[in-house]
């Protein structure tokens, strides 16, 4: 065979593989579509919900920014036909839960079914997120519920007095230092903060009513939505979840809802990146992490 033709064929093959490889790297759904598989995307939500990434140097947290990004990826990828949200979270900041919930609602609008699989704990903010899915599968002993909002602050005035510390505050308005740990909270401030918590709680109830429409009686919901927790089995009787089962039952449910008949590929969409966990941990904001004065939590 002609030398040029042989080398040309080899180079042609290499170029073809190179193009396919670049396409797969830039657009992940090409990988599965090239193999002809439908994908059930798994999004794992583990730990306390917040807006900060977990790393080797910070405590475990379910970072809402990364989770939202993953949900958007699931929406964009044409090979992802259904999504299972695997939740093992006791809740966290109200905003984190709300943001993830909103993104899940957008995902469902694309026509892709979203099924929640509850792990050990799926309470409070975790349950808020679950309410943004089409179907909820819990294990019999899963701890769920805890529908409510909470805000905490500590009064350290006595300690400061003992240490001889006196905080000097310069504020632009009467309530700018609301929730300060250096003094007793005033009745007016208590009223303001309670209103914030009550409003937040009302939003939580609205989310549950919307998410569990036709599955739970709104009147009954208000009776049980006092922050108490339930087992998965009790939650099923109350209509807070749809069925009992494990992770694979949830995947099967997602496949059925998406109409997937052939063997699907299960892919964890937010696999923790090894390098990210190291590199993000060295970010200045992670190193200088401080607890907010007060946070509204679900």
């Amino acid at each position: 065979m002609n030398k040029k033709l042989t080398i040309g064929l080899i180079v042609g093959f290499l170029v073809l593989m190179g193009i396919l490889s670049v396409r797969v790297v830039n657009k992940p759904d090409n990988a599965a579509s090239l193999r002809g598989n439908a994908v059930v995307g798994i999004i794992e939500i583990n730990g306390v919900l917040g807006g900060e990434a977990a790393s080797l140097l910070t405590t475990s947290a379910a970072d809402s920014n990364r989770i939202m990004k993953t949900i958007r990826t699931a929406a964009k990828r044409s090979d992802v036909k259904a999504v299972v949200i695997r939740i093992n979270s006791p809740g966290g900041t109200a905003v984190a839960a709300q943001e993830i919930g909103i993104e899940l609602d957008k995902l469902r609008k694309t026509g892709k079914p979203v099924v929640t699989s509850m792990g050990d704990v799926c309470a409070s903010g975790g349950y808020w997120i679950a309410c943004s899915s089409d179907y909820i599968v819990a294990n019999g002993t899963t701890i769920t519920g805890s529908i409510g909002a909470i805000m905490e602050t500590s009064n350290l005035q006595g300690l400061y007095d003992k240490l001889g510390i006196r905080q000097e505050v310069f504020k632009s308005g009467e309530h700018k230092d609301i929730g300060s740990s250096a003094r007793e909270i005033t009745p007016e401030e208590r009223e303001i903060l309670q209103a914030v918590v009550s409003d937040s709680y009302a939003q939580f109830l609205k989310q549950v009513k919307q998410g569990r429409k036709g599955k739970i009686n709104p009147g009954e919901l208000e009776d049980i939505a006092d922050g108490r927790v339930f087992t998965g089995e009790t939650a099923l009787q109350m209509g807070l979840v749809d069925s009992l089962g494990n992770y694979y039952d949830a995947v099967k449910q997602a496949e059925e809802m998406a109409g997937i008949t052939e063997e699907s590929k299960i892919e964890v969409l937010n696999t923790e990146k090894f390098w990210d966990s190291i590199l993000l941990g060295t970010r200045a904001d992670a190193l200088l992490h401080t607890q907010n004065r007060w946070q509204l939590k679900y």
Partner: protein, 194 residues
């Protein structure tokens, strides 16, 4: 000899081609080929890991991949030069034959079959026969090793047995150094009381 002739020769008629390379020492084309194979393999390996979500987690994202790739290029050139220099030095010590620059060029071209392994593995993975891809990739690596021994033989004008021995000496030395270190460490650990 043109670049196409050289590439063809390395794949299908390696001995005279390596003799020519050891004699003429076309360093720049050699380094170009070495770099091209390296970059191409980085791209294909990225595609391979993207196909496997289980190992994708260990691959750096975005710009970090390029930082690692650039570091990899620098390191691999350093290792290439070190290998050529060391093998040539050992050739001089044991057989009084040295040709470091000729050997460097031959080793650069000897990586050419290595460009076939990852794409074959990639193609096989796409076709659902990844086991065949692994075998083909392994064959490409063996092919490359054979070419490296031939490079040594032709560049230093040795017998095949001498070239093989010279080729494995650095590995053996490294193994014995490691063994020595392990022995020293074990000896320095005090025995458990009682």
């Amino acid at each position: 000899m043109s670049l196409i002739d050289t590439i063809y020769g390395i794949l299908f008629d390696p001995v005279p081609t390596l003799q020519y390379l050891a004699r003429e020492k076309p360093l720049l084309p050699g380094l170009f080929i070495y770099l091209a194979v390296f970059i191409f393999n980085v791209i294909i390996n990225r595609g391979l890991t993207a196909l496997d979500s289980e190992i994708a987690g260990f691959i750096p994202d975005g710009n970090f991949i390029w930082v690692f790739a650039i570091l990899g290029v620098i390191l691999s050139f350093f290792i290439l030069a070190l290998t050529a220099g060391l093998l040539s030095l050992l050739g001089e010590i044991f057989y009084q034959r040295g040709n470091a620059s000729g050997l460097l060029v031959c080793l650069c071209f000897a990586v050419i079959p290595g460009v076939l392994g990852p794409p074959l593995q990639y193609g096989a993975t796409l076709l659902g026969i990844s086991w065949l891809g692994v075998i083909l990739s392994l064959l490409a690596v063996i092919w490359m090793l054979v070419l490296q021994v031939l490079s040594l033989r032709e560049a230093l004008e040795l017998q095949t047995g001498q070239a093989i021995l010279l080729f494995i000496i650095p590995g053996l030395l490294f193994f014995f150094v490691l063994l020595g270190f392990a022995f020293i460490i074990i000896k320095t650990i005090p025995p458990f009381p009682g």
